[in-house]
Symmetry: C2
């Protein structure tokens, strides 16, 4: 299909906490942006697509366009939770108001964004983590199997390690330094309070402890050790993508800047600066999918 001259291109970055949309013209020039709520297909494909449409509506309004314009919009959607086939199929089955829509994962658009729409790999380290690379028609996805038993280098596992250290320190098994003090304070002040805190905590809550590791890395050897261990895991993910064949590998996500200087020499060598963000990648997906 070849889009009409007045076609509009919409990139959507749908994550577990919010959904961002950017509208662009046929040359990829931004016209407007919009934001809405969570768009994780694993928690309901209907709600995820609705969040995309709502963010799109906000982006159209921001560009001075009304809802009639939906029929001219070619959308590129990158959604959390569509890496598993059930989530993908459910999202594809949802009705939508767009002229066309391409659907992929949140990490695939991060990869497209990091490499200007071209080939490459990306290690995303946010609350969770995942590594992904694409070369031509081949792709690979590594890690990102969740907080409990995967997500190497993610903020939630890093926060949990901070709490493990704090509890050991409170028990006299490890030195009680600034990281232990701050972390224990954040979960109620003592181990009994920590047990109650953990009982109500999910990945997002454990993730709130991660910045304490970063903040104390210069002064507290325990914090530096946790960060180095996590950075070694992130290095392994980057090298795995390079070994698979990704020529450029970028770091993305909230902890990218924290890990970048701590990666191994080998991993530093394969690292490339991201050319753009996930929303850029989603717009690139929209442009690419609407053109034959």
């Amino acid at each position: 299909m070849s889009p009409e001259p007045s076609a509009l291109f919409l990139g959507v970055d749908g994550g577990g906490t919010r959904c961002r949309a950017r509208l662009a013209d046929a040359q990829g020039r931004p016209l407007g942006e919009g934001v809405s709520g969570p768009a994780n297909a694993r928690r309901g494909a209907g709600a995820a697509i609705s969040a995309c449409v709502e963010a799109a509506r906000a982006a159209l309004a921001n560009a001075g366009l009304d809802q009639d314009a939906f029929g001219r919009v070619h959308a590129g959607l990158g959604l959390a939770g569509v890496c598993q086939s059930a989530g993908r199929e459910a999202a594809l089955a949802e009705p939508h108001p767009f002229a066309s829509r391409a659907l992929t994962t949140d990490f695939a658009i991060a990869c497209l964004g990091a490499h200007g729409g071209g080939d490459g790999g990306v290690v995303i380290v946010g609350t969770g983590s995942v590594a992904y690379a694409r070369t031509g028609d081949h792709e690979i996805r590594i890690g990102g199997w969740g907080f409990e038993a995967s997500d190497d280098g993610g903020g939630a596992p890093l926060g949990r390690e901070a709490l493990r250290h704090a509890l050991r320190a409170a028990d006299g098994l490890e030195p009680f330094g600034p990281l232990a003090r701050d972390t224990l304070e954040a979960v109620g002040g003592d181990p009994e309070a920590a047990v109650a805190w953990v009982g109500a905590a999910g990945p997002a809550e454990f993730g709130t402890l991660a910045p304490k590791v970063v903040a104390h890395a210069d002064a507290d050897p325990a914090a530096a050790a946790l960060l180095d261990e996590a950075a070694a895991r992130v290095s392994a993910l980057a090298l795995r993508l390079a070994g698979w064949g990704a020529e450029r590998v970028a770091l993305a996500g909230g902890l990218a800047g924290v890990y970048a200087p701590r990666l191994s020499r080998d991993a530093q060598a394969v690292l490339a600066t991201p050319l753009g963000d996930p929303l850029d990648g989603a717009v690139a997906l929209a442009l690419r999918s609407a053109r034959p």
Copy 2:
């Protein structure tokens, strides 16, 4: 109080999965045993005390005694979940049919049992873990703050490490050996199935993966490394108790035999063979508490 000559002494070991009781005479000679359901005060003090009474009734029946004998029974109860003051107070507030009852934690009776009712320390490694020691009127409790951020050496954290290894191995980040193969098989065969398995798994389920680490420790270096790491944590717990002042430190729980030969040389040096089990400790508590 000095018990009447016909007094009976009952030890109860109340855990998260079942409650065991042993009836003894004034010389500590066993008269009968009984079993009932879970007795974790954190999940309801009333249900925990009811489980104790039910196990006691079974022990009386096993000894050929009827319920009239309850009035002669001095009980020593060691219950999970009474280490926190709320659980302890709730359990003490429950009505009971015994002539008297002393209440302590499940780990305190394990310690009494391991040292013939005398002073010492114990590191208990089951699905979870905890370290405890007593010397005269002083006691210390180390670790055991739960699966998510504590329980060093426990079967549940060990099983989770096995799964982390299996997922990394499936992604080509670590060698895919027998431990990875068996573990992945147990959680559904691939990472996507593992995500679903983890979503429905608690400590008990993660604990079912621990025996695979033990089984492959001789043939798979990854399994040996996980076991050695856990054993080092257990060594640290034992040495912490010794450093506090415990002269005898015993290992107890389902994984005791697994870790014993893998402890550090220092930890081996403080290790003592348990003289009895937690039920012996509960009977010792009953005898000690009923005598002035």
